[in-house]
Each structure stands twice: as structure tokens, then as C-alpha cells.
Symmetry: C2
Subunit: 153 residues, 2 copies
């Protein structure tokens, strides 16, 4: 039994996105637009963040921006080539450009942002070497956003 | 004499850009890409910032990002509609998108950034209500950048 357990690794994209989603729920509970993320390096979650724009009264306090600052601080280097960011919502232009400056290795997002997603402006905002994938837990991530804005109305 | 002095106001674009340039010189002296800025509200300089990416080991520590956070903190609101940012270099995509999120009233930049300026990607990254002007002290601002990169080589 133990052997089988170690062979079936639970550390896949959905595992990490579930951790990002748990962060998004914290944002939701705090009245923030519910976006959460984690940074993974060497298979380990090294940073957990959620949107804090209302709490900090600062439009730059998106989860991704905090993720970059925190990961660079932890790793001791400003480039994040060996890191993957899991984020529940497609990054906006500001965050995509910041992730590009950080040369992040990979970005995995949950649901697309049909209003403010960076890809609506230009896919080239991300760094050419950054791998991008989307759609992990997209229904849950999208439903959380819809639920938030429904309650706001 | 006193009457004439008060009639000729020194508080024009060049006055504020000179303050931004003084910040850029601080960045230069610290080995940072020499970009400086000030935020003006009600004719007063309320924030002075310069690029700190090397010092803080953080790609998000551009002068403009610090300016937004500091001004919002000072003014007690995250929107900066009544503020003008004077910045020695045209903002990059990250900073232009952040300035858009902050709905800043006006951006006055010194020299254009021919490699990383936001306008190379899309002028629409800035908020449609934000007034933009460029070219104030552009020769000094451009020369400072050239001088910096010459020394780096």
C-alpha cells in the first residue's frame, strides 16, 4: 500500500491550483476580488498569496505582484526562471508584464479573464520563454468570481 | 520686486520634472537604472521616488509602482484621479497598466523608452481619461540613461 501511494503522486497541476483556490477563498471572505495564487519551486509551495487591493488600499496589490516580490525575496534573486505560478484568474496586463520582467518559468491559470486578461491586449506581454497554460479548475475559479460579483450587486 | 516674483510662478512642468530628475540621479548613484519620479497633487509634491529594483532585488520596484502605493497611502484612496506623475522615462507596460488601474489624472514623462515603453505595445494600456505628455527635459533624461548604460558596459 505504501509503495502504491508513493507511486501515485498527488503533486499535479490540480493539487497546486487547489492551494491557489484556497487563497482565493480567503480573498472572497475578506471582500476582495477572489484571486489567489501559489508559487512552486522544486515541487514545493514557497509562497501563498491572495488579492489585497481593498485591504491595502492599493491597486498594485494583486496576488501576482505579491507573489513576485515574496518569491524573489525568499529565493534571493529577482529572476524566477525556475518557478511556476498557479493563479486562479488569468493575469491582467500589469501582472503579466511584471511576470515577464521576472522571467518566470511557467504560469498556470484557472479561468480566463474576459474583461481584463492580458491576452486581450497582446499575448506577447508575457516573456517568450515563459510557459503558459490555462483551464485548471476553470469552472470552480470562474464560479467563485461570478459569485463574488453577484453578491456585490 | 516681490510682486513680480509671485506673479511668475516657477511651478511648471519643468520645475516638477527637475525634482523627478533629482530622484533619477539618486538611482544613478545607487547603481540603479536611473529613473525618478514625483507625484504632484494640488500643486504640491507629495511623493518622491526612484527605481529600486536592484536595491530591493525586486522587478516590481519601479519608481512608478512605488509612486502609486505611496500616493494612495498618503491620500487614503486607491484612485489617483487628481494626481500628476512626473517621471523621467516613459513607463513600461507593467507601470502603465498600474497607472491605468489607479486612474491617475496625468502622466508627464521625460524621454521616450524606445525598447520597453508601453506605447510600443499599445497606447490603450493607459486609462482613457489619463492625460499624457512627454518630452519635458527629454535630452537630460535620455543622456542620463545613455550615461548609465555606457558605464555598465
Amino acid at each position: 500500500m505504501h509503495l502504491i501511494k508513493t507511486m501515485i503522486t498527488p503533486f499535479n497541476d490540480e493539487y497546486y491550483m487547489r492551494a491557489a483556490f484556497a487563497e482565493a477563498l480567503k480573498a472572497f471572505d475578506a471582500g476582495e476580488v477572489p484571486v489567489g495564487g501559489v508559487v512552486v519551486a522544486g515541487g514545493k509551495i514557497i509562497v501563498r498569496v491572495h488579492n489585497l487591493t481593498e485591504t491595502l488600499n492599493d491597486v498594485t496589490a494583486h496576488a501576482e505582484m505579491q507573489a513576485i516580490t515574496a518569491a524573489a525575496n525568499l529565493l534571493g534573486g529577482k529572476y524566477l526562471n525556475d518557478c511556476t505560478l498557479y493563479i486562479t484568474l488569468e493575469p491582467c496586463v500589469m501582472c503579466a508584464a511584471a511576470l515577464s520582467l521576472a522571467q518566470i518559468g511557467k504560469v498556470v491559470f484557472g479561468t480566463a479573464d474576459e474583461k481584463r486578461g492580458y491576452s486581450l491586449v497582446s499575448k506577447n506581454i508575457m516573456h517568450p520563454k515563459t510557459k503558459i497554460s490555462g483551464g485548471i479548475m476553470k469552472d470552480e475559479c470562474a464560479e467563485l468570481m461570478r459569485d463574488f460579483f453577484r453578491r456585490k450587486r
